[in-house]
Symmetry: C2
Subunit: 225 residues, 2 copies
């Protein structure tokens, strides 16, 4: 049986305790996802939480008009879907596999039972919720108060931080970056061009390499509103 070997610091919510992890082990059922497959989307009913075993999934919100704002890419070890855990109701976000992935599903009733038995689980979960709220707050902040270039710089830094390999190449097209940033492909293309000319990044088709992290950091702090 696949093991959650460790809990890497992925995007967010990746700090489950050993106890919680064990719980996941015992009650879980695994699901295999193809690239592009939607695990659940906004409006779905569902009361499970998930842990990522392998692959990577995109976490996004979608407007009624169909516009998408990607918020995070989650990697093995990440836990998600906890809003619906004890607050039944439709899902508020959409989760899509970016590559073939495996997720472990735990029904909230099982978690609930475990919580009643052992309060430590609850403390873990509340802490997890706290971190997620903190993170959502920062997203709101960025969207509201930062200009497009600043948001772009931050997302690039954030997403490339998760990359373990040496020169952090981001495997996203400009269209995908635009969705992360809440802007159009054209706008992203234009600012990337500028940064490329300035030697801050190097862009190729379907990818992008950060050359000068410091400079990007500056871009992220400039351009406030």
């Amino acid at each position: 049986m696949t093991k959650i070997v460790s809990l890497p610091k992925s995007g967010f919510l990746a700090n489950a305790s050993a106890d919680l992890t064990e719980l996941l082990e015992s009650l879980a059922s695994d699901t295999r996802l193809d690239e592009g497959q939607v695990l659940f989307e906004k409006g779905d009913e569902g009361d499970s939480i998930y842990a990522i075993i392998s692959g990577s999934l995109e976490f996004s919100i979608i407007s009624s008009e169909g516009r998408k704002l990607s918020l995070d890419v989650m990697r093995p070890g990440a836990l998600f879907g906890e809003i619906a855990l004890f607050d039944p109701g439709p899902r508020t976000a959409t989760v899509t596999a970016l590559e073939p992935s495996i997720v472990r599903e735990i029904r909230s009733a099982d978690v609930l039972r475990a919580v009643r038995k052992s309060p430590e689980f609850a403390v873990d979960l509340i802490q997890l919720a706290g971190q997620r709220m903190r993170w959502m707050n920062s997203q709101l902040n960025e969207q509201v108060f930062l200009s497009m270039p600043a948001r772009l710089a931050r997302k690039i830094l954030y997403l490339s931080k998760a990359n373990t390999d040496e020169l952090s190449k981001l495997p996203f097209s400009q269209a995908e970056l635009a969705e992360f940033v809440g802007a159009t492909r054209e706008a992203v293309s234009k600012t990337l061009s500028i940064w490329k000319r300035a030697g801050v990044i190097d862009a190729t088709r379907g990818g992008l390499i950060v050359m000068d992290r410091e400079a990007l950091q500056v871009m992220a702090d400039l351009h406030q509103i």
Copy 2:
């Protein structure tokens, strides 16, 4: 001693269970706030949660440049500050008294102790966190995907819903409304003028009366992006 008589559905997070309420009763210490007084602001350290006994407080986030986005006004019965509950770190938002108010403060260590004794508290708290996350998600959605008039219409409907009196008069100046909507005073003034001419609302200095809720509802759904 003041009692939390009931838990009215205020802005959000107003559905604490009887048990949790009792906990609040036993461990709390009350604080009196003057109008305009800041209870805590973004960046402060602090690990207490609060319940509102009387008055009303504004919940807002503030950019590094000093721009403010008001998110909610919280009324008696509302619970807030729970991010810091089990996830230590700086506060992510700012809370200000809109009028003379009294809040009850509970140190997170006390709550933590209670949780370990009785898991039901934990379930309540997690549920509370779930609702708050749901709500924050909706805020993010609105800010990102809606035009200014739609946001304005929604905030007016939302804020006036909390009003119990007959013809719901909102006691906010246009400048304050602008902060709620993340726009400038002028822009708000202009769209309010239009709505006033159309008979949808009636505006006076420092306040505003909703005449036609349905029409506002339409405005809220139109103007998507």
